[in-house]
């Protein structure tokens, strides 16, 4: 772990009705660190990711990003819920990439990248366009700025989605199974962009099924099952010598 703590989770609980999805997650992510989360479907890994930017409300424990509680303000021993615009301000610092991209289909690629910086942060249009173009070049899609998302392949759309999140200059990037919806031959181009991003020092939390990517890029790998962190550690170590039986069982299926 390097530098200061970006994400700190202490005993995070989350229920969907009577179903306990997260049963006490404890972890920290330091600045510049890449944390990969693997685990079977239904293990709560995506839910945890969505809690980090308050797309889901947590039901217990404490979750903070850059020292600020997510969704709440602490006054004495009381937690006050934040207002809509305060939550928005917190989220603006956290980029998120979804499994199904969710680009805005009624806007061009460049407009997708400009929308939030101009509308949320108040960046001047010309500046946002310049920065947007720069980010598109970075993900190798500078020439598609004026196309609409539906004209792009899945891999290209996901690269645009990454650029869109980066356009807000986030301190933290969340990836929710970014390659799961892609045709196999398009996975590589997205992973390459993510590797570059990790190399540039971006703090990242990645929920993924790409064990190879996790092994190569992650500083820490976490195996989650049944709403709990079963095992965590350096990826090579964890993948080669899993301590827990459940980890071993899962890895034997996916490797």
């Amino acid at each position: 772990m390097r530098g200061t703590t970006v994400v700190a989770a202490r005993s995070v609980h989350k229920n969907f009705g009577l179903v306990k999805v997260l049963k006490g997650i404890d972890l920290t992510v330091g600045e510049g660190e890449v944390l990969c989360i693997i685990g079977p479907s239904g293990s709560g890994k995506s839910t945890f990711l969505r809690c980090i930017n308050h797309l889901e409300k947590i039901d217990g424990g404490e979750l903070s990003v850059n020292g600020q509680l997510v969704g709440y303000r602490r006054k004495g021993d009381k937690l006050h819920e934040l207002r809509d615009n305060e939550i928005c301000r917190e989220r603006a610092n956290i980029g998120m990439v979804f499994q199904h991209f969710h680009l805005f289909p009624h806007m061009t690629v460049l407009q997708n990248l400009m929308e939030a910086p101009v509308g949320v942060k108040g960046v001047a249009k010309a500046e946002a366009a310049r920065r947007g173009q720069e980010l598109l070049e970075r993900v190798g899609l500078g020439h598609r700025a004026d196309d609409y998302p539906r004209q792009l392949s899945g891999g290209q759309q996901q690269r645009v989605a990454i650029a869109r999140a980066l356009a807000m200059d986030p301190a933290l990037m969340l990836f929710d199974e970014p390659t799961s919806a892609l045709d196999p031959e398009l996975v590589g181009e997205v992973l390459d962009v993510m590797k570059d991003l990790a190399a540039s020092g971006m703090t990242m939390v990645v929920v993924t099924h790409e064990i190879g990517f996790a092994r190569e890029v992650a500083d820490t790998l976490i195996f989650m099952d049944d709403g709990k962190v079963v095992e965590s550690g350096p990826p090579r170590e964890l993948l080669a010598n899993p301590r827990e039986e459940r980890t071993r069982a899962f890895l034997s299926k996916v490797l």
Partner: protein, 318 residues
């Protein structure tokens, strides 16, 4: 063994198309002809409809109706004025209804329970009472309130304010706004939830999400039913006749109460209504075509185009 199958059109002989159709088992190498399915029932039905229509036309042609009167009044000044008033009332009502309808729809999506309750109450109330009754209530509002305004600051006698036009405008637009709010709400809900999440994750507020992300995408779903609503509104505007607003129907009514040519004048009005609805239907089709450009759902257009092309080809070949 490959067998050549040719469509009937290409090998058709003047004497009949089935001459070359031979049982495949007997002569394996012979060319086979496709015999198109004959739709005899369509011919029978077509003939029946034709006879029925002819009888209707004959009945109306020989009836005691002076069609020259119908034609003459088509361009009479009071009728044209009525057409203009109908158009004015419809267009203005639609604009107001659209504005209110969008606000109500957005309120229904609000997290604020009071706003949600007000919005659903609005839709319940103004969709639940017949439009005709609503028009009469607005027109007779002076029976309830002598004057309207802020007491002590500015008031105006209700009778002076509630002219037939104002009553019709309020009644039509509020009633229509309730229907439009449902259409807009359906449009907003049709947008994929991922759009909401993506916009939220970027830090957009709920208002901005609605304005920039949801409403623009809902538009494509909303516009076709809005076109239908507009055309309904155009026809419903004739109800304003009951509160003496001089739209098309009342203009016709005033003339036939004087000259007793009732059906002739009603036909004049009908022709105008048909002209207006036809024009707006064409406009609606154009708008939809434009909105659907390049969108996966727009296959229909291309398909029907192909279908038409196919039809004309078949006709050319026959």
């Amino acid at each position: 063994m490959s067998r050549l199958v040719k469509p009937a059109g290409e090998v058709e002989t003047p004497t009949g198309s089935h001459a070359t159709a031979v049982a495949a088992g007997d002569h394996p190498d012979v060319e086979l002809t496709v015999v198109p399915l004959r739709h005899y029932s369509r011919w029978v039905l077509g003939a029946a409809v034709g006879i029925g229509a002819a009888w209707l036309i004959w009945a109306f042609a020989t009836a005691d109706i002076d069609y020259s009167v119908t034609a003459r009044y088509l361009t009479a000044t009071p009728i044209l004025l009525g057409v203009w008033h109908t158009l004015q009332l419809t267009l203005l009502s639609m604009v107001i209804a659209l504005a209110i309808g969008v606000v109500i729809a957005v309120m229904r999506q609000s997290e604020n329970p009071v706003l949600r309750a007000v919005a659903s109450g609005w839709a319940w109330l103004f969709r639940g009472i017949p439009l005709l009754v609503q028009l009469l209530i607005w027109f007779n509002l002076s029976l309830v309130f002598d004057s309207i305004g802020i007491p002590g600051v500015y008031t105006v006698p209700t009778n002076q304010l509630m002219t037939p036009f104002v009553a019709a405008l309020i009644g039509l637009s509020i009633n229509e706004s309730a229907y439009i709010s449902e259409i807009v709400r359906g449009g907003i809900m049709s947008v994929d939830n991922g759009q909401r999440e993506a916009a939220s994750a970027l830090g957009m507020t709920r208002g901005r999400l609605m304005r920039r992300i949801l409403l623009p995408q809902a538009l494509r779903v909303i516009v076709p039913p809005l076109g239908n609503e507009f055309i309904s509104l155009l026809k419903y505007s004739s109800l304003a006749y009951t509160i003496s607003y001089s739209e098309l129907l009342l203009s016709a009514n005033k003339i036939y109460t004087a000259n007793f040519l009732v059906v002739e004048l009603l036909f004049t009005a009908s022709i105008w209504y048909l002209v207006l609805t036809t024009i707006f239907t064409l406009v609606q089709q154009q708008v939809e075509r434009r909105l659907n450009r390049g969108v996966p759902g727009a296959q229909q257009q291309r398909l029907s185009g192909r279908w038409r092309r196919n039809l004309s080809l078949r006709r050319a070949g026959a």
